[in-house]
């Protein structure tokens, strides 16, 4: 990997050169260097495996227009022709009306403080990061074949280094390591399956052996099969399932769209539901770049404006942001320009999410042990929005639903299609366990850094039975 990395000019040099070439009212340059290694496997064999090196250079040009400021954004991969790139961004800025999200660029003093060695080369990964995984897989495949099980899954590791420079003197750099390991075990006849997954920064805290043991236990639970009809059930949702629902909730927390009356966070008669109690339990839902074990960039980088994100806000310091506090909606997402218009606090996206019930203790197994009768879920899948007004989502249970009676798992149940709103889901939760790092099956690919508790939720709407196994 290192050889080709040297074919690309240093990110700091790219930033300075592009800024020198840029004219207009201002300029922002982002260089994103990404290095990835991955191993995919199925049917007890490795399948597609590889390494890749990516670089994206984004130039955002700002031009005076029509009494305001317009922005032009152009992005190129690899050893970009910076003169062409700057010209493309300036051409698009000249062809654009004044930006609705325009704000003065942050100064060096206003942006996040010194962050990293701006001139350092990007951090790269290598397939050797996954060598223990590969060794573990070879052993696990042998064991699985002997026990009539079939393993499938994916391991990936990524190092992403972002360098940000602006014409107002901001120079920031951040490297984010992310990784994940997912494992599915199925019985050879395909009638039983189980999944587990974990997020990790460096694979030192996950092993194939431990994950395989967990799945073997669950396949054992599934040796007794119980058919249950559609209906509303008490469920014990593991942190992985909670993560997917909370990610969707946060992604729906646009301040502007709530004000427009088009989301679950819109207040009847106008305005937003900020301040409303959404859940009787005093949850905290937060994002924090300094969150232990889930550290992420302490400043904003974005190559695209949207209802809540603004290219003008690049370099914005990010701190602990509480979305729910004491079960009450505390914040919606706003970029600076819209926040000023709405007299709301700025709340930019942060690359982690934590749900916690203060004082709650207990593992998933502890919640199961305290369950009189209910369904233990494994994960949720194919989650899509049905009704934005209620944030009703549909989706399916996958790779293991288990009936719990008198504190013990008594067998595996058929899968279900659910129709549920994450807002109502939180509102109907009666018990939470300890918050732990967990990766969502559906959205964990894009939102790797989440920590959630297991939850007990009554009247979970299993709308129909799925014959899938």
């Amino acid at each position: 990997m290192s050889g080709r990395a040297e074919n690309l000019p240093p990110a700091a040099e790219v930033v300075e050169t592009a800024l020198e070439q840029a004219g207009g009212e201002g300029c922002i340059v982002l260089v994103e260097d990404t290095s990835e290694a991955e191993v995919r496997f199925a049917n007890n064999t490795t399948t597609t495996n590889g390494v890749r090196r990516d670089r994206r250079v984004t130039v955002i040009s700002l031009q005076a227009s029509g009494g305001g400021t317009s922005a032009g954004v152009a992005r190129r991969a690899g050893p970009a022709d910076l003169a062409e790139l700057v010209a493309a961004a300036e051409r698009d800025a000249a062809g654009s009306p004044p930006a609705e999200d325009a704000s003065p660029l942050l100064t060096r003093a206003e942006a996040a403080g010194p962050s990293g060695d701006f001139g350092a080369p990007p951090v790269l990964t290598h397939l050797s990061v996954l060598s223990d995984v590969l060794t573990g897989l070879a052993e696990a495949f042998d064991k699985a074949k002997k026990e009539d099980r079939v393993l499938a899954g994916f391991a990936e590791h990524r190092q992403s280094t972002v360098s940000l420079g602006t014409s107002t003197g901001v120079r920031l750099r951040h490297t984010q390591p992310t990784g994940s390991l997912q494992l599915v075990a199925r019985s050879a006849d395909g009638t039983r399956s189980a999944w587990t997954g974990a997020g990790t920064a460096d694979f030192s805290d996950v092993t194939i052996e431990a994950m395989d043991e967990r799945l073997t236990r669950r396949l054992g639970w599934a040796e007794r099969r119980i058919e249950l009809p559609e209906g509303r059930y008490e469920v014990v949702a593991p942190p992985e399932a909670v993560a997917d629902l909370m990610i969707y909730l946060l992604e729906s927390a646009s301040g502007q769209e709530a004000e427009e009356g088009r989301t679950v966070f819109s207040k009847k008669g106008g305005g937003t539901r900020v301040g409303d109690t959404l859940a009787p339990l005093p949850y905290e839902l937060r994002s924090d770049p300094a969150e232990a074990g889930l550290q992420c960039a302490p400043f904003l980088t974005t190559a695209m404006s949207g209802p809540d994100d603004s290219v003008f806000d690049n370099g914005l310091p990010l701190g602990r942001t509480t979305w729910l506090e004491d079960g009450r909606l505390e914040r919606l997402r706003y970029h600076r320009a819209r926040a000023a218009l709405s007299h709301a606090p700025v709340a930019a996206p942060i690359d982690n999410l934590v749900l916690e019930l203060p004082g709650a203790e207990g593992s998933l197994d502890d919640l199961v042990a305290r369950t009189e009768r209910g369904l233990l879920l494994t994960c949720l899948w194919y989650i899509r929005e049905v009704d934005p007004a209620t944030l009703l989502l549909t989706g399916l249970t996958r790779d293991g639903v288990y009936l719990v009676e008198h504190g013990e798992v008594v067998g595996a149940v058929n899968n279900f299609r659910f129709n549920e709103s994450p807002v109502d889901f939180l509102g109907r939760a009666t018990e939470a366990g300890t918050t732990v790092r967990a990766i969502g099956r559906e959205f964990g690919e894009w939102y790797n850094q989440t920590a959630m508790p297991p939850l007990r939720v009554h009247d979970f709407n299993m709308s129909s039975v799925s014959p899938a196994s």
């Binding site: 690309l8 991969a77 427009e260 949207g306």
Partner: protein, 498 residues
């Protein structure tokens, strides 16, 4: 830096990668040099919110070395970097061979020599200035915002211009240029009770150029003129009574049902468990080939990588296989699968039917969907009106919205953009909050009639997801309007318990 518009320079990159792969003992190797221009423009209430202009350039090399696959990719498209890719891809193949349980083979494919191909279009969207794009979307937005009852409008267009230069050790060299575009306009109306409804244009994404937005392939002017009135009627419409209904489904909705319940279910890599950890498997298992009753006898489904304006249309796929057309369901029975060279060889097929694709030079090719289309009835009829005439109590559904299906492609749930009550064979006003839910074989088994050629439309999407790391593929699905009996209808509001 390599000029990707210069065939000689691209050839040097090809040659460097393949030569080195051959030196390292690879029996098969394929290299792709790609240049993908993607543009996204989005307006909110007539004001520009997002404009992005992205150019991805890179080289990807896949090798089969001693029965193990290795892949390496870089954004540095030089001959020197390409040669290094061969070393890295072989190193990856070696490293992962410790856990290799089955040697990989590729099904044979004859070399096709030099192939040059372009999708049909008049104006490459990448050549249209941003100002012109914004101006047209502004005009469309303003037109809707000026209409009574419309409170908010979003309008956007996604456009992709893709150049792919492929070469393999067998001797196929393919230079292909594809253009695709997807304009979307959505209007929103609020009611006095704090509720709201939306209405989106039904125009599908297509393999056409900027001319599509000016009437070549879709009547945007006509559709935009209808949206405010349709939206107002929807806002005032009654909420659907849950139950079982006969459905007449328009191609603007049905394409997505085909995609999820037929397209993905008949990918043989899924059926054989190679997507078990992510996209899922399939109820249509290989042992049921030529036996599974997929649907009613009027069901005839074709996989096709040659469809004009199709989003998955190519001359040569990303494993060097020529684009083909093949039956998947005939007379309601499963008769074929979508294949790439790996799964074709593993399952004893003589040849792949050309369904390999990588969405980026930085991603390895995997089996992806052809344009999978439900064939219309013979001749011109029946028309949509004739299908509606066969329904005493039912719902006519147009446009796609929410979609979800389980990991074996049994249980699905879809909503839509427009729902009209059918009473006595006639449309009787709109309904709200409709979702239909069924099991795949029950649904297609209840398809009583397919419309004629006059009802046929090519729908599709840019964002079909599969694989790890995730890849998105563009794909089209053609179909006629259909009549399906006795389908479960849910009320979305009632499902939320409100």
């Amino acid at each position: 830096m390599t000029d990707l518009s210069d065939p000689e320079q691209v050839s040097r990159v090809h040659e460097a990668a393949l030569h080195r792969a051959g030196e390292l003992g690879c029996r098969q190797a394929e290299v792709r040099v790609e240049r993908i221009r993607s543009q996204a423009v989005r307006l909110r209430d007539g004001r520009l919110e997002t404009a992005a202009d992205d150019l991805e350039v890179g080289v990807g090399l896949r090798v089969v070395h001693d029965g193990s696959i290795g892949f390496a990719a870089t954004v540095a498209p030089t001959a020197e970097a390409a040669a290094e890719l061969a070393d890295e891809a072989v190193a990856a193949a070696r490293a992962t061979s410790v856990a290799l349980g089955r040697l990989v083979e590729l099904a044979d494919e004859p070399p096709h020599g030099d192939v040059t191909w372009s999708s049909p279009y008049t104006t490459d969207p990448a050549d249209v200035p941003l100002a012109d794009k914004v101006a047209l979307l502004e005009q469309w937005s303003r037109r809707l915002l000026d209409a009574p009852g419309v409170d908010h409008v979003t309008a956007g267009v996604l456009a992709v211009s893709e150049d792919k230069a492929y070469a393999d050790l067998a001797g196929t060299v393919a230079r292909q240029h594809r253009v695709r575009i997807h304009p979307v306009v959505e209007a929103l109306a609020l009611d006095a009770d704090g509720g709201f409804e939306t209405m989106r244009t039904l125009a599908p994404p297509v393999g056409r150029g900027w001319e599509y937005l000016h009437g070549d392939g879709w009547d945007f002017e006509g559709e935009l003129a209808q949206v405010p009135e349709l939206l107002a009627a929807k806002l005032a419409a009654p909420s659907v009574e849950p139950g079982r209904y006969d459905l007449v489904i328009d191609p603007t909705n049905l394409w997505l049902t085909i995609h999820e319940s037929i397209g993905h279910a008949t990918e043989l890599d899924r059926a054989m468990g190679y997507e078990a950890a992510y996209a899922g498997t399939s109820f249509a298992t290989f042992d049921q080939l030529n036996e599974l009753r997929y649907g009613s006898p009027v069901m005839h489904v074709v996989g096709d990588r040659t469809t004009e304006h199709g989003l998955a249309t190519v001359a040569i796929d990303d494993e060097g296989v020529a684009g083909q057309s093949f039956d998947i369901v005939r007379d309601g029975v499963l008769v074929g699968y979508q294949l790439d060279r790996t799964i074709a060889a593993a399952m004893g097929f003589a040849r792949s039917n050309g369904c390999a694709y990588a969405d980026s030079p930085l991603h390895v090719p995997i089996q992806r969907m052809a344009n999978v289309s439900l064939q219309p009835g013979a001749g011109e009829g029946p028309t949509t009106e004739e299908l509606l005439g066969g329904v005493e109590r039912g719902i006519y559904i147009l446009g796609d919205k929410s979609w979800s299906i389980d990991m074996q492609r049994y249980n699905f749930q879809f909503t839509g953009q427009r729902f009209f009550r059918i009473e006595g064979g006639k449309l009787a006003g709109q309904l709200r909050d409709v979702a239909y839910q069924a099991t795949t074989t029950d649904f297609w088994g209840s398809m009583e009639a397919v419309g004629g050629r006059s009802t046929y439309l090519l729908g599709g999407a840019f964002n079909c997801g599969k694989g790890q790391p995730g890849q998105v593929a563009p794909v089209s699905h053609g179909c006629p309007a259909v009549l399906v009996r006795d389908v479960r209808i849910l009320n979305a509001k009632a499902e939320s318990g409100r």
